[in-house]
Structures are given as C-alpha cells and as structure tokens.
C-alpha cells in the first residue's frame, strides 16, 4: 500500500469526525468527534514519517497523543463543571456569552 492509501483513510476519518463535531448536540459527543479528528492527524503523521524514512513524524505523533489526553481531561472537567452549574451539557443551550 502506498502513502496515498493511508492519507485517504485518514482524510475519511477526519471528515467523519468533523461531521460528528458539527452535528452532535451533547458536549461529550462533540469531544468524541474531536478525538476522531485528532486520530486522523496521527495516522497522517506516522504514515509520512514511515514513507519518508524520518522519525520526526513519529515523535510528533507521540506528542499529539499525550497532549490530546491532557486536552480530554481538561475538556471533560469543564463539561462536568458546566453540568453542575447549568444542569445540562447540550451545547445549544450553553449560550451564556451570546449578546
């Protein structure tokens, strides 16, 4: 399989994740879509790294994985706080900052 096949697979996963982010109402569901998009990025990084014979891409993938985990932890903590204050995690109803 050439590099193209991996890139296309990653593009499909990215588009599916984007669809989830755009259509989900629940804040946790939106976070799951973001997870899918970040995964697609990781596939791209590792594929480019392998096909170019340069390990820098894999080091990058390692960093994105670790940062994603931190992002999920903070994001879900925020979701829990929002639920405590507003009693809902529906993104449409969290419009406190709307003028």
């Amino acid at each position: 399989m050439g590099l193209q096949a991996y890139l296309l697979l990653a593009a499909a996963v990215f588009a599916i994740g984007l669809f989830g982010v755009l259509t989900r109402r629940n804040a946790v569901g939106i976070l799951l879509g973001i997870e899918l998009m970040l995964n697609a990025v990781n596939i791209n990084l590792v594929a480019f790294s392998r096909f170019n014979g340069d390990l820098a891409g894999m080091v990058f993938a390692l960093f994105t994985i670790a940062i994603t985990v931190a992002e999920v932890a903070v994001g879900l903590a925020i979701v829990i706080v929002i639920f405590r204050v507003r009693k809902t995690v529906e993104a449409d109803r969290l419009d406190l900052l709307k003028g």
Binding site: Q4, Y6, G29, E35, N52, M58, V59, A73
Partner: protein
C-alpha cells in the same frame, strides 16, 4: 494479495465503520465503546506502519485512558438508564455537506501531490530510534510535555473539585 494489503483493508473497514458508528449512534455510551474500537483500529494502522511503540502508547493512553475518562464523565452527567442518555443530532444535512466538502478538498490535494508508493527500508530499530530522538533532539519538548501534563492534571482537579 500480501498480508499488509489485507491487513490495511481490514483495519480500514473496521476504522471507518466504528468511526461512523461513533457519530451516528443514538446512545452516547455506545458511542464511546465504538470510539474505543476506532482507536484500537488506529493502533493497528500504526502497527502496519512499523510503529510498534506508538501502537502500545495508543492502547495505553487512548483506548485505556481516554475511554475510561469519557465513561466517567458520562456517568457523572447522564443517567445511564432511561431517556436522558439518548442524544440527538442536529443540522445533519449541513454537517454532511461541510464534511464531504472537506473530504473532497483533501482528496484533490492528495491526488495532485506526488507521493512515494514504496516505503524505504528501515534504518535500524524504530523504537530505539524514537527513544534516542526523544532524549536528544527533542528533549526540551519532552520535558515541556511533562510540565503540560502536570498543569493539565492540576487544572482538571481545580475545575472538578467540590466547592463545599
């Protein structure tokens, strides 16, 4: 058909099917379980690309860590039984159009680029090379990552703490 081709198509099928299930299924809890499937399939793709160490990281951090945190968050914000856990989607048509446009855009960019079809032979052990790169060339970013993780941990604790 070589083993790599068969593995790629099998993993691609699993990955795409479970990704679609993540964004389409009604039950949020099932979404997370499908996400775990998608993450493990992604790990399999890493394995196909000779990145065995990243496969292990993917299983430990994503499929183990992230899925567990998300399950806890769902348990804290939804009732596991009953109607609350059913989630709905909105503006399906708009979402489908935008994501299809993004996909076609990437498709055209990938189609025009000249990409290698053969991977170069491995120059030594990948895991060993990764470890050496982490602790020599990118050691500063590696240490910053540790600081970031501590900050994220403290931040999450601060947000989620009980006020009483």
């Amino acid at each position: 058909m070589t083993l790599e081709t068969a593995g790629f198509w099998g993993l691609a099928a699993v990955l795409l099917a479970s990704s679609l299930a993540v964004v389409l299924t009604k039950n949020l809890f099932h979404s997370v379980l499908y996400l775990a499937g998608a993450l493990v399939a992604t790990g399999g793709v890493f394995l196909l690309l000779d990145a065995a160490f990243l496969f292990g990281i993917q299983l430990l951090l994503y499929a183990g860590g992230v899925v567990t945190i998300v399950v806890f968050a769902i348990m804290l914000t939804e009732r596991l039984v009953g109607e609350r856990i059913r989630q709905t989607s909105r503006r399906l048509a708009v979402g489908a159009i935008v994501s299809a446009a993004v996909f076609v855009g990437i498709l055209m960019a990938v189609g025009q680029a000249r990409l290698p079809t053969e991977r170069p032979p491995l120059a030594g052990d990948v895991t060993r090379g990764l470890g050496e790169a982490l602790l020599t060339r990118s050691v500063l970013s590696f240490e910053l990552l540790a600081v970031l993780l501590v900050a994220a941990l403290l931040g999450a604790l601060y947000f989620a703490r009980n006020d009483d």
